[in-house]
Symmetry: C2
């Protein structure tokens, strides 16, 4: 595990350095929006999604450096979705990763626009960064198309709509699965596929990595739900029990802790199984699953 | 003029039909967000920006049909920016084109997400639609990059940040120009350039069309400011005097009506001048300038 954390730390450092270079300086006019972008992007994210993009490219035999812009774009999209989810009209959260949320610091108008700005910057980065890295134009286009679809009403946004609407009323297990697949799964899947496609993975490798991404996202979501019940607020950097307070449906509230743990273990097993045949190049991804299975933050 | 309106109506019909085909059906799960997308997209827009995209492609000798997805993407981005601008945390507008704004009908959460969804759909359309139309991948990439940049903190969002911040305090003429160039000009410029680039315009034609787009956007914004003072609420589909009530800075409030008219005329003249040498293919664009110079809605 400490081996994985060291590898993750190296990828995190790479992503953080690139994000710092890609984001406009905080004092560029109009300064408030650029401060807001940097505030949320550098609020202590684990950079798990971009790390998966880098690792998937490596599995395909492509240097991580070439997909660094795409990895950063994925992280910008993740950050944008968190800023908008936290807004008063949505989940109305005051804290995120132990720090006041964007709208608490900069006000609602700037927080909405900061999310919008990160979203547009992500697409700028995907295209400009991909071009500058010398990636094939058709591959970049495919990735832009898939990421845009993952962010739309069949992905991130559809999931968030249902999540907001479902709060406080009864829902069926199938609906919870739809919400999580859309809200969390789609971006994990897109993160892995972006690295694989840009890295030039062959069809079989791409298929395996896609299945991996889907199960990994599911396992991540279930453990996230579990941690909100069983986790430690200080380690997590956010209050526990917020799902219950917000009447949010989770794998724990719908299936109970025991069944949620069983499903998390099963998703982890499927994720590892999908990597079989990919050899030592997939070591980071295998360890990432172990990390998810045992994570406490 | 009636000649131009007939040509515009033909382009509007083409764009409306395509938008109807590209937007998910209103009853697709989750229905509320798809209803919200269609509500705002079909709220009576003039489709001026997409018409410019189609016309610029035609100047480059490319069939309009091939850039229809890009034209629609531009309109989706325009609609997204209106939905977010109207939000209570921003301009807090209840009416847009004579109809209740998105957040008045669907609530703030869905309105924020509807804007986000239109933005992601725009990028999906640019890439998928461009690929299906058989456009060159490198040209599509350039357009995605330019449109994303036009939507960012140096364009749409930067302009909106300054607009929100400037309300109610003194600003210099240079700041007003920055706001309008970013908030309105960037998307007009991108709309024209998208058509020209995807249509394969040669460098000189692209340069001329770019200058045209910049001056056209400026002329549009100044006449928009003038109409808020001198226009008729029924013809406009929105209350007049809203800029003054919201303490918004306009070309009229900063320079007076006489000087604003002079600047609008000058911008129109520069826009027409930029088209010189492009021959009969640019007839629609020339007439579009006359339309802006005399428009009352």
């Amino acid at each position: 595990m400490s081996d994985f954390l060291a590898l993750l730390a190296r990828k995190t450092a790479l992503v953080d350095e690139a994000l710092d270079a890609y984001l406009p300086p905080a004092d560029r006019h109009p300064a408030v929006i650029h401060e807001a972008l940097r505030y949320s992007v550098f609020a202590g994210g684990k950079r798990l999604r971009p790390a998966l993009t880098l690792a998937a490219a490596a599995v395909a035999g492509c240097p991580e450096q070439k997909v660094l812009p795409a990895a950063c774009a994925i992280e910008l999209i993740h950050t944008y979705s968190l800023i908008h989810d936290d807004l008063p009209a949505m989940d109305n959260d005051d804290l995120r990763r132990g720090k006041p949320t964007s709208h608490r610091v900069f006000g609602e108008a700037v927080a909405i626009l900061a999310g919008d700005a990160l979203f547009s910057l992500a697409f700028e980065l995907l295209t400009r960064g991909g071009r500058e890295a010398g990636l094939e134009a058709t591959r970049i286009l495919q990735v832009v198309e898939e990421i845009a679809a993952a962010c739309g009403t069949a992905g991130l946004i559809g999931g968030q709509v249902l999540d907001v609407q479902a709060a406080g009323r009864q829902i069926a297990p199938a609906e919870l699965e739809f919400i999580h697949r859309a809200k969390t799964g789609a971006l994990f899947r897109a993160a892995v596929r972006a690295g694989a496609i840009l890295g030039g993975a062959d069809p079989d490798t791409l298929r395996r990595l896609t299945v991996f991404g889907e199960y990994f996202g599911l396992a991540f979501q279930i453990t996230d739900d579990l941690l909100d019940v069983t986790g430690d607020a200080e380690t997590l950097g956010k209050p526990v029990g917020s799902d219950a307070r917000n009447h949010k449906h989770t794998y724990v509230s719908l299936f109970g802790e025991h069944e949620a743990r069983r499903r998390a273990r099963q998703a982890c097993a499927e994720a590892v199984e999908a990597l079989s045949g990919l050899g030592p190049a997939a070591r980071f991804l295998r360890h990432a699953v172990q990390f998810i299975a045992t994570r406490d933050f």
